[in-house]
């Protein structure tokens, strides 16, 4: 056992591409492992179903080309035998090492009570995919989150802005593997940028108006704290300076 690899070695090796994961190949003809939607997808779209994997014994993953995601997902939603009417999650995975980013759709059919995971692989130089907001309204904020943290652009998204990071965040997309853990700027620069943000990102206009006094503190340093005219010595000094000039 001492010569064998430690169980921590696999952790140190980091994530592997899903194509190398040694999951026992799925037997579509075996009734226990088969997923009706996968069979139907293969019949319907043929070559467009790039790969099919089963992980954690019963979770089915279907890989589809990113340029056909809208077509295939809308078929999954609308076909009477599928009816994936619930979009549980849209997220993305970056395995690093220049490997493509994966956009993950977690679908669930309330009617048939079955789940399906659909993945699209996007190469790093073409991080664009069609938005599915038109199919499921739930995709709106989820796709904004993926855009914010991974930098994947969703075409035809109604409101594609950052959602978690500040609107003027300039350091990139934090969940990408090429993003340094502590950010790209120094801590001082990060603090400076954080505090020089526009307050309108955080407060409504009337709230800013209510708290406005704190932005205009009167100078309270020694003699200046006195109202004008009460500090005669200072007034004399000032007039004296003016007279000498």
């Amino acid at each position: 056992m001492a010569d064998d690899k430690s169980s921590f070695d696999s952790v140190a090796e980091g994530p592997r591409p899903s194509s190398e994961v040694t999951v026992s190949p799925v037997k579509v003809d075996s009734p226990a492992r088969a997923h009706p939607s996968v069979t139907a997808l293969t019949d319907q779209f043929g070559e467009a179903i790039l790969r099919h994997e089963v992980v954690a014994t019963d979770q089915h993953i279907v890989f589809i080309p990113p340029d056909r995601n809208l077509e295939i997902l809308s078929w999954l939603r609308d076909d009477l035998d599928q009816q994936y009417d619930l979009l549980r999650d849209v997220t993305a995975v970056d395995y690093g090492g220049g490997r493509p980013l994966q956009v993950v759709y977690q679908l669930f059919s309330l009617f048939h009570k079955q789940a399906l995971r659909v993945k699209c692989e996007l190469p790093l130089d073409a991080l664009e995919i069609e938005s599915v907001c038109g199919l499921w309204m739930a995709a709106n904020w989820l796709e904004r989150e993926v855009y914010d943290l991974f930098g994947i652009t969703f075409k035809n998204h109604p409101d594609l802005r950052r959602i978690l990071m500040p609107p003027d965040y300039a350091e990139g997309h934090p969940l990408r593997k090429d993003f340094p853990l502590r950010g790209r700027f120094s801590r001082a620069e990060q603090t400076r940028r954080a505090l020089s943000q526009d307050l309108k990102h955080y407060y409504f206009d009337d709230e800013i108006e209510l708290g406005g006094e704190s932005q205009a503190l009167p100078p309270m340093d020694g003699p200046q704290a006195l109202p004008s005219g009460e500090n005669e010595a200072e007034a004399e000094v000032e007039t004296g300076v003016e007279a000498s000039e």
């Binding site: 090429d178 502590r182 801590r187 001082a188 400076r192 954080a194 505090l195 307050l199 708290g211 503190l217």
Partner: protein
């Protein structure tokens, strides 16, 4: 920590008979005592619970620990009526301007307790999104260690604030409590100080995975430890 350490020259009053020369006069010391007594026994905290430390803070305020014994009868959810800002929990850079604004809105005299490891130093969160100690943003009077601290620790911190108030002199008040308008909405610490308190430690010194398959383009600065 956050208080200005300048001690002003003692003001010689107009009535030497009453004030005395060079020694703390009877009347002013009694006024000091009276004002400080009323201040330290009616501290109203502004709770800013952003994480699990906030749960311990609530426990300290609840009946088992009962901070009302110390005159903190009422949590003040408006910074205008608060005396002590208790920052309990981690603060993100996105939240930092809100924290600074709450501090700016509090009226003098005011104090600040940084509760827990994350608020004081950033804690385990040495990451892109976290403020590495709120003392880079606002002045802090007392730091409470712990993850999270026990309610007793928070009570002890507030007792230290009370002790600090007890030692304050009235004639220094105008200097101690002066607000610099130029400091509003600005970080308290300058760039050098922030860099010195936020050096990488622990996992953040190893930004690359062992396999080298993960390229992170880590920024290396002279102060960074080599893993």
């Amino acid at each position: 920590m956050g208080l200005i350490d300048k001690v002003p020259p003692r003001v010689v009053g107009e009535s030497p008979a009453l004030l005395g020369e060079g020694t703390p006069a009877f009347l002013t010391s009694k006024i000091d005592f009276l004002v400080n007594w009323s201040r330290r026994n009616s501290l109203w905290p502004m709770p800013l619970g952003t994480a699990c430390c906030g749960i311990e803070m609530m426990a300290a305020f609840a009946s088992d620990f009962d901070l009302a014994r110390f005159g903190m009868e009422r949590m003040s959810f408006s910074p205008r009526q608060a005396d002590v800002l208790i920052c309990a929990g981690r603060v993100t850079y996105k939240f930092a301007p809100v924290l600074r604004r709450i501090w700016d809105q509090m009226t003098q005299p005011k104090w600040c307790v940084s509760m827990g490891a994350c608020a004081s130093t950033g804690g385990v969160f040495d990451v892109y999104s976290m403020v590495q100690g709120i003392d880079t943003v606002i002045p802090v009077d007392v730091y409470v260690p712990g993850c999270p601290p026990r309610p007793e620790s928070l009570i002890y911190a507030l007792m230290m604030i009370q002790e600090k108030i007890r030692q304050e002199k009235l004639d220094q008040h105008a200097i101690l409590r002066a607000e610099d308008p130029a400091a509003v909405a600005k970080p308290r610490a300058d760039a050098e100080e922030i860099a010195s308190v936020s050096g990488p430690f622990g996992n953040s010194t190893q930004q690359n995975r062992v396999s080298g398959s993960v390229r992170t383009d880590a920024i290396s600065r002279p102060g960074d430890r080599i893993p």
